[in-house]
């Protein structure tokens, strides 16, 4: 019933991979066995399939032999899949009739010392690919209309650069910034390493350009309330926070600030100075307009006739205490997330006395001190002996920040150089673990700092104490290069604090359902090849929201994100992978059980039947397991295809052998298993891997049928929740497993044979251990009797859904 009987013409290629495969697997035998399968009209082996010659051969063969489907047994589809898909397109075929049998990463490499078993497995994997290809449809990419509207979230240097690039290219940008002015952290900096050019001087022109640009709609003091929809149709709600000052009336004369009686800590100077409740955020703010801080303002706190002096003196009548937040709705086609970072709060490490000892400051405060010193304003007296302590809040497992913050070595060297130049008689020390001067001219800059007389001591300072007699800070550390303890009293100690993601980033991550990496920054789609994409189509990343980086890298990445967005929007159409689910409306009985199962809201009812929006659907497949009528299926990983793969994987099982079927989610577990192969880590050659889009795609039905067809153990491997692009996959996977376990128990089969497990791409050892553990277990438990397997299928539909199926 599930075999396609119409004649097809399948071409099979088995790659030697330059010896990588052929040294372990008998490639000729694989090609020979494949040729025996029905509808395979061509089956050959070849040294390098991915080479120009190899690809040309496929194109020529396809034309000459009228091939409908192409199977390539070679490396992982994650590796050369896209290459061969393009080859098929050149041959005039749909790229979606290609299937790859992963006989390198899954056979030749991990089972490198089991040649016979590796060959056997390769033959089976090729047959599985043939059965999948047999059921492939010649699909084409889907397409939707896409406009020229971009939302840039965050007005720091990343957001500014991306906005300018997009606006200059003619696209319409809405730039939303939560502070009263754009500029971000860079606006607070003194000079930038390694050139020591003034941050303000290079940033202001860009800020002004943003303020002036006809294609940029700048919304400052605003936040994103909600984002719904998808690429080409993001519906965004923006909250405009009240400044209590009309931007179009304010001329920044300053009379209000003069009269305001309320002094507050100036956050821009990191608490080292004071300003008034009504103020402009900083001297080159864009827009250069006043705003009132809500909580300290007397009128806003107490209402009635309290204070109100600023309003009385304002010649432009620009102040309105009754302003309310405004909400605006916009629709955009793409989004760039550039929400930036926060510095580490050194109070989390009380041993350094930040916030208690008056002469201990942090790196950002040092930055402000240096800026203001150049203007002749002394925010704090630095004194004659200054120390910088590195790696505060970075490279530290004690506080859950094991990563390196990348910029602190350089900013400390910069700050040390500047304070030394301010007063050459000053003693300046940097206490470090490593000096990371990785960028262009960075090492030279480090050398210049040494020549200036900045002293570098290799030893991390454990704690800081104050000398009660003079308030100086006692610094003690082991000079690990000289192997002696050294100690000194310093007038000022600056903690070179690391960086981390901020609350705004977390909010946007939740709104857009973006993934986070293990360091809590936003995860890019692929660390090497897609560093500015996210896994959500149409949403791009720029700047420190993705990870710690300096200004050159931030600007480069921002331009990169802009270019990616432009590439997407420039043709007015967006083409997407046909990996989406669909409803067979004949089978659908309108029960609506599937609607709530979709985490993306892609399923809606139309005329009493469920309909799935192909552009919104992310292809996770979790809805399939919720339909009692078996009415939902999906492209590229259809029910028929997965069952065919399972059956083919098990049909050659011999007496006494056992088989472990492993369903692996494409994004993570499949990649992990590839890595295991690449690392040549050996695991049971009785395992057969079946690629699925997500763990949640593996329905209880599929699991039970796997056992029925001969599996002795089934492992469903899915991405760890935090890093998964499919938010409900883990929950759905375990739900399906629970249902399957009940059915197994009913049939007298041990539930230990079924495992659901979440992985991240670095858990190589865990994967190998798990599979080998299962192998061990099967040696003890043995295979499953025919009677028990048959029992599984009795009243299966009822057991799965509790409903009798006609």
């Amino acid at each position: 019933m599930d075999e396609k009987k119409n004649k097809q013409r399948i071409g099979v290629y088995v790659c030697h991979c330059g010896g990588n495969i052929s040294e372990v697997v008998d490639v000729k035998k694989v090609a020979e066995e494949a040729s025996k399968i029905g509808d395979v009209v061509l089956s050959k082996d070849y040294p390098h399939m991915c080479s120009e010659l190899g690809q040309q051969m496929v194109i020529n063969d396809a034309k000459k032999n009228n091939l409908d489907k192409v199977v390539i047994a070679a490396c992982s589809p994650q590796f050369q899949g896209p290459t061969f898909m393009k080859t098929l397109e050149k041959a005039g075929l749909s790229p979606y009739v290609l299937e790859m049998a992963n006989i390198r990463e899954q056979a030749a490499w991990p089972h490198f010392n089991e040649h016979e078993k590796a060959t056997e497995k390769s033959i089976e994997l090729t047959k599985m690919a043939i059965e999948k290809a047999r059921r492939d449809e010649p699909l084409q990419k889907g397409e939707i209309e896409i406009g020229n509207r971009v939302l840039v979230i965050g007005g720091g240097i990343a957001g500014i650069q991306a906005s300018l690039d997009l606006a200059d290219a003619g696209f319409k940008v809405t730039l939303v910034e939560k502070e009263p002015s754009i500029g971000g952290k860079m606006a607070q900096l003194s000079r930038t390493f390694p050139t020591e050019d003034c941050a303000t001087c290079i940033l202001s022109p860009k800020m002004a350009a943003v303020g002036d640009h006809p294609n940029i709609d700048l919304k400052t003091y605003s936040e994103i309330e909600s984002i719904n929809g998808f690429l080409g149709n993001f519906k965004v709600k923006i909250k405009r926070k009240p400044r209590y000052v009309y931007e179009d009336k304010c001329v920044a004369c300053g009379l209000c600030e003069e009269k305001c009686p309320v002094k507050i800590e100036d956050k821009f100077n990191e608490g080292l100075s004071q300003t008034k409740a009504i103020h402009i955020q900083f001297d080159y703010a864009v827009p250069f307009k006043y705003y009132i801080e809500e909580s300290p303002c007397l009128r806003l706190q107490y209402g009635g006739n309290a204070c109100g002096l600023c309003q009385k003196v304002c010649p432009q009548d620009a102040i309105d205490f009754d302003m309310k937040p405004k909400y605006e709705d916009i629709t955009v086609d793409t989004i760039i997330v550039a929400t930036g970072f926060d510095i580490f709060d050194a109070r989390e490490k009380p041993e350094y006395g930040f916030g208690k000892l008056k002469n201990v400051i942090n790196g950002l405060q040092m930055e402000r001190i240096i800026v203001k010193a150049a203007e002749g304003v002394e925010l704090k007296q630095l004194g004659k002996k200054v120390a910088f302590i590195q790696c505060i809040g970075s490279r530290d497992k004690q506080i859950g920040r094991p990563y390196c913050s990348r910029i602190c070595c350089m900013y400390a060297i910069k700050q040390a150089s500047l304070v030394k130049k301010m007063d050459p008689s000053r003693d300046v020390y940097i206490f470090y673990i490593d000096i990371r001067a990785f960028g262009k001219s960075y090492e030279e800059y480090y050398n210049r700092a040494q020549e200036l007389g900045v002293k570098f001591i290799r030893g991390k300072v454990a704690e800081l104490m104050e000398n009660p007699d003079n308030g100086k800070v006692i610094v003690k550390a082991e000079d690990t290069l000289n192997r002696q303890m050294i100690q000194g009293e310093f007038d000022t100690v600056s903690l070179s604090v690391g960086v981390g993601p901020n609350a705004a980033t977390d909010k946007i991550v939740n709104m857009l359902k973006l993934a986070k990496s293990s360091d809590n920054f936003i995860q890019e789609a692929h660390p090497k090849f897609r560093p500015v994409d996210t896994l959500v189509p149409g949403v791009f990343l720029a700047g420190t929201a993705q990870g710690p980086k300096d200004i050159p890298d931030t600007v480069a990445q921002a331009s990169g994100a802009a270019a990616r967005a432009i590439a997407l929007m420039n043709q007015g159409k967006y083409f997407f992978d046909p990996m989406y689910a669909f409803v067979n409306s004949e089978k659908c009985d309108g029960c609506e059980l599937c609607i709530s199962s979709c985490p993306y809201g892609a399923i809606k009812m139309e005329n009493g039947k469920a309909v799935i929006n192909a552009a919104v659907c992310k292809g996770c497949g979790v809805c399939i397991g919720h339909c009692p009528q078996d009415a939902i299926d999906m492209n590229l990983y259809s029910n028929e295809q997965l069952i065919a793969e399972v059956k083919t994987a098990l049909e050659s099982k011999k007496e006494g052998e056992h088989r472990i079927i492993i369903f692996a989610d494409d994004m993570t577990s499949y990649r992990l298993i590839d890595s295991v192969g690449t690392a040549k880590m050996a695991y049971s050659s009785d395992s057969r891997i079946i690629r699925v889009p997500s763990g949640g795609r593996v329905t209880a039905d599929l699991i039970v049928k796997s056992f029925y067809y001969g599996a002795d153990a089934v492992i469903v491997a899915d991405a760890e929740e935090k890093s998964s692009p499919y938010s409900t996959s883990k929950t759905e996977m375990f739900r399906n497993i629970e249902i399957a376990k009940k059915i197994l128990t009913d049939a007298g089969i041990e539930t230990d044979r079924l495992l659901g497990m979440n992985f991240v791409t670095v858990m190589l050892v865990a994967f190998v251990k798990t599979v080998n553990k299962y192998d061990e277990m099967l040696n003890q438990l043995g295979t499953i009797s025919k009677e028990k397997r048959e029992k599984l299928m009795i009243n299966l539909r009822e057991k799965l859904f509790g409903v009798k199926h006609e």
Binding site: K349, E351, M465, P468
Partner: protein, 300 residues
């Protein structure tokens, strides 16, 4: 209604540090807490065994947990599985063993099998320090019992190592503990915070290398004095010995060194609650605190 808690004294509290025990029992009574001594308790071993292959030295602490089970069974206490320790070292050793057994079922099984004459232990017990009990009751309740004005006293908190390290057993934030200062505040005493409050006194090195310890004594005590302290509190008989008796050796090394009295925190509580002087056991304190206390009109 009296709270009845199983109480582990440890060896030194019965001899050299008897004043720690008597003062504690007295102030506990004021707070309506009855500390019931663990029957047939054995020495905990003072230090925790920290190598991976030594289960043998976990036995001594573990046996005491079984005694807690017995106390409950025989009705001496009613459904009370918290074991209160006073001495920091006992607290640390008992708690580390308890955590080890909680996290490693195989080791727990091995210990239970080995102690086959004893009832099986199944991680029922929770080891707590007396300061934690005070914090749980609430320092405001402690404040209510204060009868004597101690506001003229300036006392430095001192934790030593074992109340705060490792982090798994710490009774407060390892780098920024407040519990002793909070207690002193509630007693009406001015707490003198200083950076040496968690510096190790040198512990067992006092046996073999008393001058090494004396150098630490000098640093810790001088540091507290520099910050304005007139006395220092502690919760450990070994810290007390090192900070108190070893002031003698410290004077040998640093002739200008002038020490201050070292008190158990419960002795200060006792003073605040107006507990009779005999129960506070000042005879056992090496540097007699009584002259200072008379000077401040706290004692007659």
């Amino acid at each position: 209604m009296a709270m009845k808690l199983p109480y582990y004294p440890g060896c030194t509290l019965k001899t050299k540090a008897k004043n720690f025990e008597t003062s504690t029992l007295a102030v506990a009574k004021e707070l309506d807490i009855e500390l019931v001594e663990l029957p047939k308790w054995n020495c905990c071993g003072a230090v925790s065994s920290i190598v991976t292959d030594d289960l043998m030295h976990q036995l001594a602490p573990a046996r005491n947990f079984v005694r807690v089970l017995e106390m409950n069974k025989s009705g001496i206490v009613d459904n009370e599985y918290r074991l209160v320790a006073l001495c920091s070292m006992c607290y640390n050793t008992l708690k580390r063993t308890n955590l080890l057994l909680k996290n490693d079922h195989e080791k727990l099984k091995t210990i239970n099998d080995f102690m086959y004459l004893e009832e099986d232990y199944n991680n029922e017990v929770e080891v707590v320090h007396f300061l934690e009990i005070l914090r749980d009751i609430g320092f405001d309740k402690v404040k209510e019992k204060v009868k004597v004005d101690l506001s003229s006293l300036k006392i430095a908190p001192y934790y030593g190592c074992l109340l705060l390290r490792p982090k798994e057993i710490a009774i407060d934030n390892t780098e920024d503990p407040r519990i002793e200062s909070d207690l002193l505040d509630s007693l009406g005493v001015k707490p003198i915070d200083n950076p040496f409050k968690k510096m190790c006194c040198g512990a067992h090195q006092t046996v073999q290398d008393k001058y090494a310890v004396a150098r630490n004594t000098y640093t810790i005590v001088s540091g507290a004095i520099k910050a304005g302290a007139e006395a220092i509190i502690t919760s450990c008989p070994l810290c007390a010995f090192n900070l108190d008796n070893r002031q003698r050796e410290a004077k040998e090394l640093y002739p200008d060194f002038e020490g201050v009295p070292i008190l158990y925190f419960t002795q200060v509580m006792g003073l605040a609650f107006g507990v009779p002087e005999e129960e506070l056991g000042f005879d056992l304190n090496y540097n007699d605190p009584r002259p200072l206390l008379r000077e401040k009109n706290i004692l007659k």
